[in-house]
Point group: C2
Chain length 215, copies 2
């Protein structure tokens, strides 16, 4: 999208992404979780955040809790509002990645076009992580009672019931939470991050747990 | 603002702000720069970012460059759009602060009510930094030629010329860029950050320049 005015001048940051990566021992990036409600996005996001932080990564999670009540508090759940919500999250996630952080986004983000738009805008950062479990498994879990309410017509436009979910065609990682436990899923995600975002020790400061950082 | 739906459940982050502060050696916070075009916001933001990064702080700058072309690309410069732009920046800045970072925001942000709304929503994070130079000084600098164009009527609703600027009533810091040079202004800002956001060495990992972080 073009800026709404030409009266915006590009200012160059003196701290480069390479500087940040060297200091952190890893590059910034977006781990874009997508999947049905109940597939395990929030659980895995929180566990992954904890595990990465413990290994010295700079990491933060964007989820419904910290986005829907703030940045997107003016938006509802219509298709248009969902698209705008996902657009904003994509832009914010890219800012975090530019700031050198690994940002995990935990949103259903049901529309393929919305996700592909973010990938196209931020190709160096974007990794699509499909948190996958069949609808019947997610519905059987129904921790929040949302599927029951959706079937009863109390929740409108609910993904998988009364609104579509468009699965990723070529995600960087697919995690099957119906076939593997949390620990195995987590190991799969950690391996991906280590492989794609971690700097070789020779290039960066190296990663340590925060407890060792006081020396 | 209330969320647009009740179907948002609070998820607790396992990594607490205290954890992040201990690892970083400092708390997260928002350094909200406000002031006329040409007052020196962008220059000081970039210099402060560089200086803080060099001292081991986790810091990032939000400015017109990285916000207006992305998150707020759908917004123009009408009073309503400016207010929405500033609202979004406030929410994003609070996310960065929650992630443990110091975020510098460099926007004119001319309306007092807009700034006070952010302060009220995020009182633990928000510091208002008035980058102050008289209009005639800013207009004489006119690095971007914007004042000239505004006086010629080529730029509409230009703050200080054809749109109001409401100065802070009680900013945490006031920097007079017409009376002090960049180094002196920077020293004033660094002192404020050290005093308010830095953790005592006993509580945090301590701050080091990134070049010493490899040991």
């Amino acid at each position: 999208m073009a800026p709404a005015s030409k009266d915006v001048f590009t200012v160059h940051h003196r701290v480069t992404e390479a500087d940040r990566a060297r200091a952190n021992g890893h590059r910034g990036g977006i781990l874009w979780f997508t999947g049905l409600s109940g597939a395990g996005k929030s659980t895995l996001a929180i566990e992954l955040e904890k595990a990465l932080f413990g290994r010295g990564y700079r990491v933060y999670t964007l989820d419904g809790d910290n986005v829907r009540q703030g940045l997107s508090a003016d938006l509802g759940f219509s298709p248009e509002d969902r698209t705008e919500n996902i657009r904003r999250i994509g832009e914010v996630a890219a800012l975090f990645a530019e700031a050198g952080m690994i940002v995990i986004t935990a949103f259903i983000s049901p529309y393929r076009a919305d996700r592909e738009r973010i990938r196209a805008r931020h190709p160096g950062y974007f990794s699509e992580i499909f948190i996958n479990a069949p609808l019947e498994v997610c519905e059987a879990r129904d921790k929040k009672g949302l599927y029951r309410r959706a079937r009863a017509g109390e929740v409108k436009e609910f993904t998988g019931v009364s609104a579509p979910y468009e699965a990723p065609l070529a995600p960087e990682v697919e995690v099957r939470t119906d076939l593997s436990g949390v620990e195995a899923c987590l190991a799969q995600l950690l391996q991906y991050v280590d492989r794609t975002l971690r700097l070789p020790a020779a290039e960066g400061a190296g990663l340590r747990g925060p407890q060792q950082a006081g020396g």
